[in-house]
């Protein structure tokens, strides 16, 4: 009798996540496409765009995703079934070159992070459904030295060498 109740309890526990209203994704397969601003003259602030296509093993269609962007939780934009987009922007100086990790949560994870944040911690202990790494190679703000400047310097150098040898000859 004890084993059968145990089996029953285990069965209920296994079925419980499916009975819950909140949509969860089990075993997500993620394809991501990332864009970051490359030239400063094309945008006054650096923009990051992360597009993800998520396929869940449990066939979940009404998935709601939230993303942790630089410590700030935003809802992921839905651009089609299973397709999400997260975009954020800031000044060029505040988003230097490097790798940024964007954590994606479902509703449960989102509520857990909110709870953690309210109790003082930064919510980094909650495990996300998946993480996308954004590699930013920096926003190009122009060459260090203008080519015209280099050409002027070379011309002046040539002139100086000629002038020096000429005055040496004359002396």
């Amino acid at each position: 009798m004890a084993t059968s109740t145990k089996i029953l309890a285990l069965a209920v526990l296994a079925v419980l996540p499916l009975l819950m209203n909140a949509s969860t994704c089990i075993g997500p397969q993620v394809t991501s496409n990332v864009y970051t601003t490359s030239e400063a003259s094309m945008s006054i602030s650096t923009v990051f765009v992360v597009e993800v296509a998520v396929k869940c093993n449990n066939g979940e269609k009404d998935l709601l995703l939230f993303a942790d962007v630089n410590g700030h939780m935003v809802p992921a934009t839905q651009s089609g079934t299973g397709k999400f987009q997260v975009s954020w922007s800031d000044e060029h100086k505040k988003l230097p070159a490097g790798t940024y990790g964007v954590r994606f949560f479902d509703e449960e994870g989102y509520n857990a992070v909110r709870k953690e944040k309210r109790s003082g911690t930064d919510g980094s202990a909650v495990t996300p459904i998946f993480t996308v790494n954004v590699k930013h190679s920096g926003t190009w703000t122009g060459p260090y030295v203008q080519t015209e400047f280099v050409a002027t310097c070379v011309a002046l150098l040539v002139w100086y060498m000629a002038y020096r040898s000429k005055s040496f000859l004359m002396s």
Binding site: N33, Y35, T37, S38, E39, A40, S41, M42, S43, I44, S45, V47, V49, E51, L64, V74, P75, T77, Q78, S79, G80, K83, Q85, S87, W88, S89, P143, Q146, T147, E148, V150, A151, V154, V158, S165
Partner: protein
């Protein structure tokens, strides 16, 4: 900057009959480029703010002012939606496009549709701000002004070599002859 544009944003959302406890969305669309150049990225940013007193449901943003033959999509989607937008919250969305033709382009408003309350049957339709008309510079003109012109400078250096090199050769030859004579003495 954000508070400044909030003051400027136009209140074009249609008033609903249930104003006491309804969501109200303000949306802005802005072009983040300093220069819009043919063949280079055009960054469009949308921001939606909920200034009402209730959550907005099923918020849809659709922008049909970038025809496929004039703008190539690089990143981001022009038709997106959010499930809910909380009171006082804001979302931002960015789309990267590439203009395919130079000339003048009129950037018009995008459409925002949402349900102001959970029970409302009628969808509220509003519009974002419109950035207005702007010129798309041709790639050749942009490069003429801004590219480093390395090849042009290298060509110039090679072209000046004869007029500088020839007198230098003459001087060097006579100098070496003079030095040899000096040594002999």
């Amino acid at each position: 900057m954000k508070s400044l544009f909030l003051l400027v944003v136009a209140f074009v959302a249609v008033r609903s009959d249930n104003d006491d406890n309804a969501a109200r969305l303000l949306a802005s669309k802005s072009i983040l480029n300093q220069f819009i150049v043919e063949g280079k990225e055009l960054t469009v940013e949308y921001s939606i703010y909920n200034v009402g007193s209730s959550q907005a449901y099923n918020v849809e943003l659709s922008d049909s002012s970038f025809p496929e033959e004039d703008f190539q999509r690089v990143s981001g989607s022009l038709n997106v939606k959010w499930d809910r937008l909380a009171v006082g919250a804001n979302v931002s969305h960015a789309v990267i496009l590439k203009p395919l033709r130079p000339g003048y382009a009129n950037f018009t408003a995008a459409q925002v549709k949402y349900y102001p309350t959970e029970e409302s049957q009628a969808q509220q339709v509003g519009y974002t701000t419109a950035p207005g008309e702007a010129g798309i510079v041709g790639l050749k003109d942009y490069e003429r002004r801004f590219s480093p012109h390395i090849v042009d400078w290298a060509t110039f250096a090679i072209m000046t070599l004869p007029s500088i090199g020839f007198p230098f050769l003459l001087w060097y030859r006579s100098k070496s002859k003079y030095d040899v004579k000096h040594k002999k003495n």
